[in-house]
């Protein structure tokens, strides 16, 4: 536990000192969503219809944007090798890095989402399920992304490879995240969708750090 907290603290400090990374992720999120009213026209009905999907897709892409550097900088300067040689299980190290990724990208995305809901004319009923679904979904995105980020260690053009590896795995989160908002707007309960999102998170929580650690070990050999 001490090791976990030490790594979280150090990575948060690095993120804050290096500054603008998480701001840029949020800026990308906002700009990507803002493009849609320009693209499909400003009719309120059309925007309201596509709002949940657009916000979710943009959140997904924004979360992926910063994944490439999850292990890369530590890999390049030898820190990752050394982290693997500390008396802290590599799974814990990966979990700490995922936590920091979520705190610096997932959390800001959740905070920015209501603003974009207003912009996309999201019906009033949709805000609550959107926030809950994002809170349950974005940690899963960070967890799944860690596997991809570990697999691309040492490869050139890793960013594109990463999106090919990770985006297909994001589809379930996208489907149930969007559907949770849609059903509430349609007058039903979002409980099943939110339960499935919770299930995905609970499944990813032990599996992804384990798979990510195995991939890191492979990358270091």
């Amino acid at each position: 536990m001490n090791g976990f907290l030490a790594i979280v603290r150090r990575d948060l400090r690095l993120a804050f000192r290096q500054g603008l990374d998480s701001l840029m992720v949020v800026a990308f999120f906002v700009i990507a969503v803002v493009l849609f009213p320009f693209g499909v026209g400003p009719q309120p009905n059309t925007l309201a219809r596509i709002a949940p999907g657009v916000i979710w897709v943009a959140a997904l892409l924004a979360s992926m944007l910063s994944l490439e550097r999850l292990f890369q900088t530590d890999y390049e300067d030898g820190s990752l090798e050394l982290l693997a040689l500390q008396p802290v299980a590599l799974e814990i190290t990966v979990m700490a890095k995922v936590t920091v990724h979520w705190l610096t990208t997932g959390l800001p995305l959740i905070v920015a989402a209501p603003l974009l809901g207003v912009l996309m004319n999201l019906p009033e009923d949709g805000y609550m399920p959107l926030m809950i679904a994002l809170t349950l979904g974005t940690p899963t995105l960070s967890l799944i992304g860690a596997i991809g980020a570990a697999l691309i260690l040492g490869s050139r053009r890793g960013g594109i490879l990463l999106s090919l590896l990770v985006l297909p795995l994001y589809i379930p989160v996208l489907i149930f995240g969007v559907s949770a908002v849609d059903v509430v707007i349609g007058g039903f309960s979002a409980k099943p969708q939110l339960l499935i999102l919770s299930g995905l998170l609970v499944g990813a929580l032990p599996l992804c750090p384990w798979a990510g650690a195995a991939a890191v070990r492979q990358g270091l050999e």
Binding site: R17, D74, D77, L85, Q86, P87, A89, L220
Partner: protein
């Protein structure tokens, strides 16, 4: 603080019949070594003969194709974290984060080690031993290559571990720092510590056992 392993008259850390396979070729085969408390092992051999590969195997970064690495007659692969807790590794890279100060860098690595309580004094004295006490509050980005190497060496002095694996530690060091390093290794050995070190330097450590890796070179196919 220092671990003393005086119980066994046999060697504590041994490798037998090691075969290393990397990048599609057998680097060395049939290699063996033995280290007892207080001993030093100098790895000799031309570039590409497998000195770094051997040190990485000793650290547990990767498995030998054949052969066994044991600590007190127990394979190091059985409990990697226990092995990590007793070793310090210096690789080719110096993991000094540019946005953290020297002390912050060292404190992070030290907190991951067991038995590191309130270690601010240990960090300060490690910096003094390597002659960089004046750099304690300087961010990593202002350090020269030699200074970064000294910080990396201070890292292994700040938290005790019985086995040091040093891969060409003199790289980028000036004469004074080389002397500091030699003194540190002598201190470490006097306290019952073990060192495996690869080096091209002419002068060797006092009473060090030499291992010429070239003689275990596998015949190229």
């Amino acid at each position: 603080m220092q671990n003393h392993h005086l119980g066994s008259s046999l060697s504590l850390f041994t490798g037998t019949d090691l075969v290393c396979f990397r990048g599609g070729r057998t680097v060395f085969a049939g290699l063996g070594f033995a280290l007892s408390p207080g001993e030093a092992l100098m790895l000799r051999g031309p570039n590409g003969s497998g000195k770094s590969s051997l040190l990485r195997l000793m650290a547990g970064l990767g498995q030998p194709l054949e052969g066994a690495l044991t600590w007190s007659d127990e394979s190091i692969a059985n409990d990697p974290e226990a092995h990590n807790a007793r070793l310090h590794y210096i690789g080719h890279a110096d993991p000094v984060k540019p946005v953290l100060t020297v002390t912050e860098n060292l404190r992070f690595w030290a907190t991951l080690r067991p038995g590191f309580g309130n270690g601010e004094d240990a960090i300060a004295s490690a910096l003094e031993k390597l002659g960089i006490g004046h750099l304690a509050d300087v961010p990593g980005r202002f350090l020269s290559a030699g200074q970064k190497r000294r910080v990396n060496l201070a890292r292994i002095l700040a938290a005790p571990a019985s086995l040091w694996l040093l891969d060409e530690p003199q790289t980028a060091l000036d004469r004074a720092a080389e002397k500091n390093l030699k003194d540190a290794i002598a201190d470490h050995r006097a306290g019952g510590g073990m060192v495996a070190i690869s080096s091209h330097a002419e002068n060797s450590l006092a009473n060090a056992r030499e291992l010429d890796i070239n003689q275990f070179r596998a015949d190229s196919p």
